[in-house]
Structure formats: C-alpha cells, structure tokens
C-alpha cells in the first residue's frame, strides 16, 4: 500500500517536474504541427555538454573512490544487458509479424543505455538529495556494449542457421570500438578522463554544471518532439513493438533494481546507485545503439526499432520508470 501511495505521490510530483513538463511540451508541439525546432547543431552540443558534465564530475569524484567497489555493479550491469536482449529475442522475436532481424535489433536497443535518461535520473536524484556513487554513471558502457554485441551475434547466428551457411564471424572488436567511439560514450569517457587527471573544478562548476539543467530542459523538449514525430513510423509496423516498448523498460528496470539490491546487500552499493542502475536498465539507446545495430544487422528495418524506442520506450523510461524506481527505493530503503 505504502509503495503504491508513495509511487503515486512521487509520480504526481514528477509530473509537475520541469523535466517532464518539457518532455510533454515537446510532444504537444509536434502534435500541433509547430514549426519550432531546436537546431541540430545545438542539440548535439547539448548532448556533449551534458555528458561532459556527468563525466567530469564522475572523474573528479572517482579520485577518492575505491575502484574495486565498481566490480560487482559493473558485472550486474553487463548481466542486465545480456538478460534484456535474451528476453527480447524470446518474447518479441516469437510474435507474429516481427522478423527475427527486427526483434534482435529492437532487443539490442532496449538492452543498451540512453545517455539522456541517465541525465534525467541524475537531476532527479540531486533534487531529492539522494546520494550515489560518483562512478555510477560509468556503469553505462558495461551494460550498453554487451547488449549491442549480443544482439548482433544472435542475429548473425540466426541468419547463418537460416541460410545453412556457417555464421560470418561477428567482428566483436568492431562493435566495441563503434560503441566507445559514439559521440555519447566518447564524451562521457573523455569527461571521466579529464575530470580524473586535470580536476577542472572551476570550468565544471562555472560552465558544464551551470548549463546542465537548462540544457536538459531543452533536450527533453527535443525528445518529446521526436517521440511524437516517430509515432507515424511506429504505426507502420506491427503493434507488438508498441507493447514491447511499454513492458520492456519496466521489466529491465525491475531486474536492474533487483540486482542492484543484491549489490547493496553484498558490497554496500548505495540506494542512489541502485536507482541509477535500475534506470539505465530501463532506458534504451538513442545515440550509440541505432547506427551500431544498423551496421551490424543490416536486414533490420530502422523504422521499427527506432520508432519503438524513441516514441514509446524513452517516454516510458523517463515518465514512468524514473518516478517508479525512486518511489520503490524510498519504500525499500526507507529513504
């Protein structure tokens, strides 16, 4: 009961949160055919600033952290990525009207991680004054990369089986590189490195952190517009994608929360960290994922996997999963 009441109140407060207001605002703009558009160049700079800010902060804090603490949560992150893809392949992949390739690509995308959702989670935790490990954002690649690799490997095996030929060796190294070289992960890792080595506190506080919330509000607007705009593409594909895109984030998030809880008990992973793990599990990749999957599973139709993730998966992750896992943590950990 408490959980429900808590969730209800957390959800309602989140609904009034600026973050969500901008997300919904973006949808309304797109739905009403507004010509307002955030220029592409600004959007890309915003992503850069957000991830640099997260990275720099993490990098500066990690200086004082014990790196071994990272081990178990990182392992769990990878596990979640793998489970998410396997689940997706076994559920979405068996539905009528869904091609194998499309199922693997979609499962890969939902197993991977969204930088934007991660940024939202961090703002909410900060607002609620829930502390978390400084290195928690660094869990991102540990979940992202295994999910993308597994999806591409499975698709390649399936194709080989179908055609009777031996499977083409999947260039796993290429996938890892592709992923690390994506603008999102590059910025995050660069930030971590510079934060760790040069400790640029002044420029972080006076610029990156200063612009963080404002840029996040603009990003939410863009994501709202995109979510609506992509709906038309989603409508052209099987309805199962929409259903999957609602259920998968919540399921993955719950798995993330569960494993996070285990890490809490075993190695003292903080409640805030558990929330972050759950939310990145619930998120789906919007930057590194699509092109990597497109290159790795050329037979998959981008309309289906991008549509499902942008139009449904991301709004669910931000509007439902963020308040859900914060509320869950409040009940479970008595925050």
């Amino acid at each position: 009961m408490d959980l429900l009441a808590n969730f209800a109140s957390s959800f309602v407060s989140q609904l009034q949160s600026p973050t969500l207001a901008f997300l919904i605002g973006g949808m309304v703009l797109a739905a009403t055919g507004s010509k307002l558009a955030i220029p592409d160049a600004v959007y890309r700079f915003i992503i850069f600033v957000l991830l640099m800010s997260i990275g720099l902060h993490g990098g500066m804090e990690i200086r004082e952290a014990d790196p071994t603490e990272l081990a178990l949560p990182a392992l769990f992150a990878a596990l979640i990525g793998v489970i998410a893809v396997l689940l997706g392949a076994q559920t979405l992949g068996r539905l009528p009207g869904v091609s194998k390739d499309d199922a693997y690509a979609t499962a890969g995308l939902f197993g991977a991680v969204s930088a934007s959702t991660l940024a939202v989670a961090m703002v909410v935790l900060e607002e609620k004054e829930i502390p978390f490990e400084a290195w928690a954002p660094a869990l991102y690649p540990f979940m992202d990369i295994p999910a993308l690799i597994l999806a591409i490997v499975l698709a390649s095996l399936a194709k080989a089986k179908q055609s009777g030929e031996k499977a083409k060796r999947v260039a796993i190294g290429e996938i890892i590189k592709d992923s690390l070289r994506s603008s999102a992960l590059s910025a995050l890792l660069l930030g971590l490195a510079i934060g760790f080595i040069a400790e640029p506190r002044e420029v972080h506080e006076g610029f990156y952190d200063l612009l963080f919330r404002g840029f996040l509000s603009v990003l939410m607007l863009v994501m709202g517009m995109e979510a609506w705009a992509r709906l038309s593409e989603l409508r052209r594909v099987a309805h199962w994608y929409a259903a999957y895109a609602v259920i998968a984030p919540i399921t993955h998030g719950l798995i993330g929360f569960g494993l996070g809880y285990i890490a809490h008990v075993l190695v003292g992973f903080s409640p805030g960290g558990v929330i972050i793990l759950a939310i990145i599990a619930a998120s789906n990749s919007d930057i590194s994922g699509p092109p990597t999957l497109r290159a790795g599973i050329p037979g998959a139709n981008p309309s289906s996997f991008i549509g499902a993730s942008t139009s449904v998966g991301t709004p669910i992750a931000i509007a439902v999963c963020v308040p859900l896992f914060v509320a869950l943590a409040e009940v479970v950990f008595g925050l």
Partner: protein, 104 residues
C-alpha cells in the same frame, strides 16, 4: 574544348560514405563531390530538419565525373553490388561534357 564524360551520382546513407570514398579512391576515381540531404525511398523517411545525434542515417549525394565512361560504369556497378543489396541507396549515370578534360 568541352569533352564528353560520365557523371555517376550515388545517393546513400551516410553510414556508407566512408566505405564508398575508400572504394572510389581504390578504383581510381580522380575526385568526387558530396552534398548532404534528406530523402524518401522504400525505407525510412530521412529528414534533415529533425535534430538528430545519429547522422548515420542521413542521406548523402555523392557524384563523381570520369572521362572513361566504361570505367565509371564499372565502379558504379561495383558499389551497387557491394553495398546496395543490404543498404539503402540508388545510383544514376548521366552523360555530361567537361571542361579541362585532363583533370578526369
């Protein structure tokens, strides 16, 4: 002073751009010009106007001019065979004349 030549226009996803450039360099195209665009075909609608971090699905329009029409056609065919089975894209070939033919 204008001499006949052949222009090959390749419209493809940016994803393929670097690979197509490499193939053009290897097969001996003397140069190429690229413009960015958007488009609609049988698959995804690609709009240049929507903000997107992921530029790999954008459309690029690559054109190269060659004096040797046969060679140009072979390169075009090779690109079609290598990439356009799996990926989006079209290729057109047009007759043109060029000034300064020694360049091509």
């Amino acid at each position: 002073m204008a001499k006949p030549a052949t222009t090959v226009t390749i419209i493809a996803e940016r994803l393929l751009q670097a690979k197509i450039f490499k193939l053009l360099d290897e097969t001996g195209a003397s140069g190429y010009t690229v413009v960015e665009g958007s488009g609609k075909g049988h698959n995804l609608i690609r709009t240049h106007e929507r903000p997107s971090i992921v530029r790999d699905f954008d459309i690029v329009r690559i054109e190269f001019v060659m004096s040797d029409g046969e060679h140009a056609r072979e390169i075009a065919q090779q690109i079609a065979d290598t990439y356009f089975k799996d990926y989006s894209g079209i290729i057109t070939i047009s007759p043109v004349e060029v000034l300064r033919p020694e360049l091509f």
